[in-house]
Each structure stands twice: as C-alpha cells, then as structure tokens.
C-alpha cells in the first residue's frame, strides 16, 4: 500500500531579509528529511525547540512548501499548490495555542465551520458535528461558548472540528504544550482512541516523552535532521543520546537508567513506572 506521507530529502530554508527585501541570511530549518508514514499509524516526532519538527509538520498540510526534495501526501505532490485544498482535506492540523484556532461563539458552530466550508450538505454537517463532539467527549458542551472551556477542552473541540472534515490523518503540532497535566492527558487519550477506533493516522509533534510511549514509531529531530528513529522502547533505551538532543526521558526511565549505572541489572527498555516497579520486584523475588 502507498504510504500516506512520503517525504524524500526534504529541505526547507527560511530567508532573512533586511528592510529593502534583500536576503541577508538563510536558515535551513529542514535539512534532508526522509520518512514514510503508513496509513493508520500513530507516529511521534520528538525534538527540542528549534529542531525543525514544526516546520516539518507545516509541510504535511501544505502550509509550507519544500525548498528542495519531494513530499507526497495521500499520493498528491505538495509544492505546486494545485492540490492544496485536497491535501488539507486529507491532513488536518491542531495547533499549539487553543485560543488561536477557535473562531465561533458556540462550540457546535465551531465544529461545523470546516465541513460547511467544503460544501457538506447541512443535514450531514449536523450529523458530523454530533459524531465528532461525542467522539472527543465534548457533546455536553455543544451549546456552550468556547471561551468558558479549559485549554484541554478547547483542544478537544479543535480536534472535533478536524474530525468533522473526515481527514485521513490528524497532526497535533505541540497541541499539548500550553495545557496542564490533566488537559494534556485528556488530549492524548482522545487522539490515541481516535487512532485505534477510527483508523485515522495520527502524527504527534511534541517534546513531552510521556506522550509518545503509545506510538508505533518515534522520530527524533535535531537541527533539521532526523537523528534517531525506532519504537518508543528502542528510543528510551538511548537516554544519554536523547539528552544530547536537548530532550529528557520520563522520570521512571531516568530512575531505571541511574540504577543500571549503579550496576543493578535492570532491562534496558523500561518504558514507564509500572514496568520499572515490575522489574525491581522481579529482582527482589530472585534475591
């Protein structure tokens, strides 16, 4: 099967210009990124601030076009702008700031805005709105004003707005960065369930390691390049390397790492607290 995302040697350069518009410098934000995402996958792209991960995400729904290299989204080539609308119907994006992407005074109207703009018949808009809001657990708030919602609830409304457009792929571009721990968990739980149940491809862009433990595949970016890739287990086992890329493993993984450094024979691929506690219990039983 054809991958839903197929990037090859992708390069993106931002030019800095002076007041007259002359180019004074070039910043290579993406520097030869090649990766493929299969339909239905849950992918995480990890990277520190300035690593290029958001620039990459913005290519996936044609907000930015490649300077060099090729990118196919759902089989359509990005770059010549002829397919921009179709690409954006295929890939929906949730941004970082919940307050910047809600446009309506009523939750259900906000969710209906997208489908209305792509010409969905009215009766179906209502049906899609209902399904989408139920899916993210926000149906009870459909008549409310969005500005009374918490950040996490707003992001779930934003996800509903994208679901209502029936995309094949949803990207969360640091969508949890401004949320508190509870809001963050609600958003990640929601998007994971949508991935499982609706078979929608999900790409999570983040620097919170806790959010990627459920991913099928993790890419780590630094200075515009993919520098590590693998399953969450494979990535977390390389915690010293992650620190070099300005990232950090979850505390439980860090404790496991410190214990191994002290010569305690724990497995290298511990992912979370439960696995660590199980592993320590096993050692205890053996002794």
């Amino acid at each position: 099967m054809q991958p839903i995302i197929d990037a090859k040697d992708l390069v993106h350069e931002y030019s800095q210009r002076d007041e007259e518009g002359n180019v004074t410098g070039i910043n290579r934000a993406l520097d030869g990124v090649s990766l493929q995402v299969e339909e239905g996958d849950f992918i995480a792209v990890l990277g520190a601030n300035g690593s290029g991960k958001s620039t990459f995400a913005k290519h996936l729904n044609a907000l930015l076009t490649p300077t060099e290299g090729t990118l196919y989204v759902g089989g359509m080539e990005c770059g010549d702008h002829t397919k921009d609308l179709d690409i954006r119907k295929t890939v929906g994006m949730v941004f970082q700031n919940p307050d910047n992407q809600i446009i309506s005074n009523v939750v259900e109207e906000d969710v209906g805005f997208g489908p209305e703009n792509i010409g969905v018949p009215t009766a179906e808009i209502w049906q899609r709105m209902e399904d989408a809001l139920k899916n993210v657990g926000m149906y009870a708030y459909r008549k409310n004003s969005p500005n009374k919602l918490s950040g996490g609830q707003k992001q779930r409304v934003a996800i509903a707005g994208i679901l209502a457009m029936k995309p094949k792929c949803i990207i969360l571009d640091e969508s949890t960065a401004m949320l508190d721990p509870g809001g963050r968990k609600a958003v990640i739980d929601t998007i994971s369930r949508i991935n499982r149940e609706e078979k929608i491809t999900v790409i999570v862009i983040t620097h919170y390691m806790e959010e990627v433990t459920g991913a099928d595949h993790v890419y780590v970016m630094d200075s515009g390049k993919v520098v590590m890739e693998g399953s969450p287990r494979e990535i977390f086992a390389r915690s010293h390397e992650l620190e070099e890329h300005r990232l950090a493993v979850p505390e439980a993984v860090k404790v496991a790492m410190l214990l191994r450094d002290q010569g305690i024979p724990l497995p290298e691929d511990i992912l979370d607290q439960e696995e660590l506690v199980d592993a320590v219990e096993n050692l205890w039983i053996q002794r």
Binding site: M178, A248, E251, V255, E281
Partner: protein
Amino acid sequence: MSIQLENVNYIYGESSGQEKWALKNINLTLHDNEFVGIVGHTGSGKSTLTQLLNGLEKPSSGQILYNGQDIQAEGFSKKELRRKAGLVFQYPEHQLFEVSVIKDVEFGPRNLGLTNLEVEKRSFDALKQVGISDELLDVAPFALSGGQKRRVAIAGVLAMQPEVLILDEPTAGLDPAGRTEILELLQRLHRENNISVILVSHSMDDVARYAERILVMNQGELVLDGAPEKVFRYRKELREIGLDVPQSANILYELRDRGMDVDTNGITPEQAAQNIADYLRRQS
C-alpha cells in the same frame, strides 16, 4: 523581605450575583530568601495569588503586609512594591517589544529615573546573569529562540533588582533542556544573589527538585504548606484533589505497596535510585 497574608479573600464577580471565590481565607508568611513552589490545578487560585503579592490585584478582604507594612494603606508606594516584588507572567516573551535585546531589558530600569550609566550597568548584569551572551545584545528579540526570549524577559525583571522574583509557569512550552536552564538559573539567583523565588508550576517533579517549601492550592484554599519531603508524604490527600506526588516518590511508594521495605523518603530520581539500590543490596 517578608510578605504576610492575613485572612485574604478574593472574589470575582461580586456585583454580578455570580460570585466565584478565587481565594478563600489565605493565611501565609513568605520569608526572606526562600525558594517556594506553588502547585495546584488550573483554577486553584495560584495565579490570582501571585498577582496579589505584587499589588496587581487587590484582595476583596484581608490584609497583605510587605515587610510589615499594609500594601493597601494610604501612602504605601505600589510602584516601589512592584519593583521589589518582580512578577514574570506566563509566556513573558509575548511582552518583549523593543528593537533590540538590550533596549528591552533597559526599559524597566530607565523608568526608575536612574542615570544612563546605572541603567546600562544593571541591564548588562541582568543579561549576563541569565546567560545571554554579548553578541546577542543588539539582536531583535524576535530573532531569538523560545528559551532565549524567555531569559531576556526574566532579565528585564532582574534589572529592576527585585528582592523577590515571582514566576508564573516560567518553563511552559520549553523543551526539557530549556526547562532545566531556567530552573537552574532560578536556583543560582536564589543561592548566589539571595533573591527569594516564588515559582508557580504544574510539574511536581520540578518543584520537588528545586523548591525548599511547597504550597498546595485547591479551589482557592491553601491546603498544604511545608518542605517538599513533608508535603509529598500526603500522597493520598494529594490524589484526592487530583494532584500527584513526583514520579520518583510514586515509584518508591509503589514498591512499598508491593511488600518491599524500601525507604520512601525520596522525591528526585537520584534519591529514588539510591534508595532502591540500597534496598536491593541489603537483600542479597
């Protein structure tokens, strides 16, 4: 420096009939040279509390004393209070507005009526303290990375030479290395310059590592107040209000629950690893 809150209440929308108590009967003394962490859910009253501390908001009732003086009293200089109690808002980089880094930092001290030389000296010093190098002084703030912008914003407050630095989630949105840089900076300012730090945070792991005293807020009330090791012993009570102990403490408690006699006194990964290693060695 000391800040004392006596029976402080803060009520929103009193006149509209839809009252909401953001703070309920807060009694609290913040001492000189403390590193205090304030934790609690969104809406627990943390941010309101910080805005009362430097006089941005006025309590609905109760008193706030700065060095024993009532900050609402006639003749008390609010301007002076805001200089001494420097407040760094959430996402302070949104408030950078000048054409260069140095000009932005100079804005505050220049408004204090200091000499040019003094303004420049303070601004250079503040930028040095936050680790912004000389070649960035004339750069536009917008050209900096997220972590750098935030440090410039903190430098702007430091240049006012505050006695206490109050920060509302200064690490929000930063990558792990950027977070560590900011927290280490606060620790250094606290230790080397004797500045009191009041840090509002969502991260139990961060306050466990850096704060000497933790205040736990829930629905406008101050529910726990003490050293981190003590506060995080109230695991059950914290869970009841939807908060958690640091992951490292959780791991130790979890092992204890499974019948292992591990020392549960530990709130950082280093302490947790040490306690577990000690315990396993005792068993063999």
